[in-house]
Amino acid sequence: MSELILLLISTALVNNVVLIKFLGLCPSMGVSKSMDSALGMGMATTFVITLAAGASWMLEHWLLVPYELGFLRILTFILVIAAVVQFTEMFVKKTSPGLYRSLGIYLPLITTNCAVLGVALLNVQQGFSFFKSLAYGFGSALGFTLVLMIFAGLRERIALARVPVAFNGTPIAFITISLLALAFMGFSGLNI
């Protein structure tokens, strides 16, 4: 149990997908304008990553390895991820049209969020057990959501700041996220 918790912390903070592994940058920049949509995006992605991590484990161990279909790994993973994302999209559209609207194109684009495929592949690579895979996926997604929320909070504040024209918009967002990555460097080598 404590092993799982440690895995969660290490994936969420120490090896943060966005700030340390530089995965999932596209939604991190795109859906971080307000904390509400960031939280929505984070939850949607958490759902997708966790489910994809579990499903990919099952595919890997029950299909790809037994039938020696390793070359199909990326293809099958993407297939599963795309299906989960489609389901998520329908669900969000039904339950929260406002969120659906504010997430816009970034919701279906979770499919191509490299964090999702990346986590699934890393999972398989590290040969985790099923539950560890889930924890790894969930922890990564938690880290993603955390960064997205923090970043959205910062951007909400920056949106009201008198940023010089040359830096306004995306430049200041990149500077901010780089400083955030700097702060997360403090967790490097964290060894509990």
């Binding site: 929320m149 909070g153 008198r162 940023v163 010089p164 200041i172 700097l182 403090g186 060894n191």
Partner: protein, 366 residues
């Protein structure tokens, strides 16, 4: 009687009185509070420390001036006059190794003023503490000069470098002689731990709390005398520049886990006294974490912020790969500040905490 005339007026809104507080006054008081500890540190570490401090401050002012000029700000002198850049440089210089070469100060000043502050729009618009941004960026980019501590050589002692020698040390960037090289208490503890030795034994020699209070020990300028920094901090509290929430919470966040860890396993966890009195804890708690711009605005938010800073400092010091975690902790909590602010809004009179109007009470006898 003369007829009525309508005069074109510039509208002025109420109130037509003011309490008299001013930004520049606040900044001045912080500088005043820093002066004793800084002067004492100059005495401890000699001329090189003074030169580095001077260069860092000068560079900060220069970069502030250049940025304002580039952005076409109309009242450059007035903006420089609020001395916020001076304070940033001062705080940055206090966190650098005293004998670090001049370019460390200049690059640090550039990062602090330009990247940490001006690109966000200047004073009050930045989201991270500029001095800490510079300190962390320097630490990650130039780990060697940023971790070369020297044993204090008070100015009055014979071996202390003179004026010219001091200039050479700062400008030529000569590494300090081996005999002078030393480690800060936290760095020493980290090294000893990684060697697998027992902290109780390792620290038994020569790390009495008294030394921590007086600060005659390797470290940055701002890590020297806990006593003088504490006095400065109390001055700020007394004059109302800062509130008690953040300093107290930082100490609590640091001391409580330290006490628990030390009680459980003294061989692996440093005690409360070394944690609180060494390193940048006192400086950070009173002067850095309390930075208005980058900390929460409400009392409960400030408590959460302070506890976060203290706790993260302890976590990074204890488990991370860096011996000192104050700068990282401050940056991490700066990042969380908007979220803390959002969830610790004060309750509006006549409304519930969620912002809904209070229920109208049932009429008596109606």
């Amino acid at each position: 009687m003369t007829p009525f005339a309508y005069t074109a007026v510039q509208t002025v809104a109420s109130p037509h009185a003011h309490g008299g507080n001013a930004v520049s006054r606040t900044m001045l008081r912080v500088q005043l509070a820093l002066t004793p500890a800084t002067a004492y540190a100059f005495w401890l570490f000699g001329w090189p420390a003074f030169f580095l401090w001077l260069i860092t401050l000068g560079a900060c002012l220069l970069f502030e001036f250049i940025s304002l000029r580039l952005m076409g700000v109309p009242h450059i002198r007035r903006t420089l006059g609020d001395s916020s850049a001076l304070l940033t440089g001062w705080l940055l210089a206090l966190t650098l190794p005293p004998w670090a070469p001049w370019w460390v100060g200049v690059i640090g000043a550039f990062i602090a003023i330009v990247i940490g502050k001006q690109v966000f729009g200047g004073l009050g618009q930045n989201v991270f503490n500029p001095a800490m941004v510079a300190r962390v960026a320097l630490l990650i980019s130039f780990p060697l000069p940023l971790t070369q501590w020297v044993t204090p050589l008070p100015l009055t002692t014979l071996a202390a470098p003179g004026f010219i020698e001091g200039l050479q040390i700062t400008l030529a960037g000569l590494p300090p002689p081996d005999a002078m090289a030393s480690a800060s208490l936290l760095g020493y503890a980290k090294t000893e731990l990684s060697r697998g030795s027992d902290l109780v034994q390792a620290l038994a020699a020569g790390h009495a709390p008294l030394i921590s209070w007086i600060g005659i020990r390797a470290g940055s300028l701002g890590e020297s005398s806990a006593l003088l920094l504490l006095a400065g901090g109390l001055f700020l509290l007394a004059t109302g520049v800062i509130r008690w929430q953040i300093p107290l919470a930082v100490f609590a966040g640091l001391a409580i886990p330290a006490a628990i860890g030390h009680a459980l396993d003294p061989a692996h966890y440093l005690g409360v006294i070394p944690h609180v009195l060494s390193g940048a804890a006192v400086l950070g708690a009173f002067f850095i974490a309390t930075d208005y711009v980058t900390s929460p605005t409400t009392a409960p938010g400030q408590l959460i912020f302070g506890i976060g800073v203290g706790l993260l400092t302890w976590v990074i010091r204890t488990y991370g790969s860096y011996p000192e975690g104050m700068a990282f902790a401050v940056l991490l909590m700066n990042a969380l500040t908007p979220i803390i602010d959002r969830y610790t809004k004060p309750r509006i009179l006549g409304r519930t905490r969620a912002g809904k109007p209070l229920d109208i009470p049932a009429k008596k006898g109606a």
